[in-house]
Amino acid sequence: MGAVTITLNHFSAALVFALFTSVVFGITHRETTRDMLRYGLYCFAMFLGGVLVAGWAMWVLRR
């Protein structure tokens, strides 16, 4: 697949990862549609929140 090359920055890569992983987690870990949606959103928020917290923690440690 040499013809197609996607270059994502670190945040957009984390965004793509969080989005699709959250969809699968939501569907597979809960029973009802409402719970699936809520858990998927929760996972997405935790993934992105974790990225932001880790990013700022590294910024603080670097100083």
Binding site: M1, G2, V4, T5, I6, T7, L8, N9, H10, A13, V16, F17, L19, F20, T21, V23, V24, F25, I27, T28, E31
Partner: protein, 140 residues
């Protein structure tokens, strides 16, 4: 243990749970084509979302010049990477057959692509387990 003792005492044994065809076929098809195990059990939306999510994650990883692991890696981490990759089923088979996924170290995010493909395979394993649970009636 307690059950087997009481079964011996009473002389009765429980009949093993009948293995339905769907409980075997759905996980197998679900492994080969992500989400297909749900679709063949008429969970169309769930199956479609699983297919889009897993396939897109895998293909984005491939397009990010991620590396695909082969079966004869030798190193323990390569073997673990292979186990993750092989979960993607047909996506993995096509990728190795076409000799894609060689990895390109000149791209800083190529390593993310490698991880994307491993995670896509692992997520498909979870989807396969979910399809099995639906097939045996443990989940709606």
């Amino acid at each position: 243990m307690a059950n087997s003792v009481s079964e011996k005492a009473t002389g009765k044994t429980k009949a093993p749970e009948a293995v339905s065809i769907m409980s075997v076929v759905a996980p197998a098809v679900g492994w080969l084509i992500p989400g297909a195990g749900h679709m063949m059990q008429k969970r169309w939306i769930r199956g479609g979302l699983l297919f889009v999510s897993i396939a897109t994650l895998f293909l984005v990883g491939l397009a990010m010049q991620g590396r695909i692991y082969k079966a004869n890696g030798g190193d323990i981490l390569d073997i673990l990477g292979f186990i993750g990759d092989v979960g993607a089923g047909a996506l993995y088979i096509v990728t190795t057959t076409m000799d894609w996924g060689q990895g390109a170290i000149q791209y800083a995010t190529a390593d993310y692509g490698t991880k994307f493909m491993i995670v896509a395979g692992l997520l498909n394993f979870i989807a396969v387990a979910d399809a099995y649970h639906i097939a045996i009636g443990k989940k709606q």
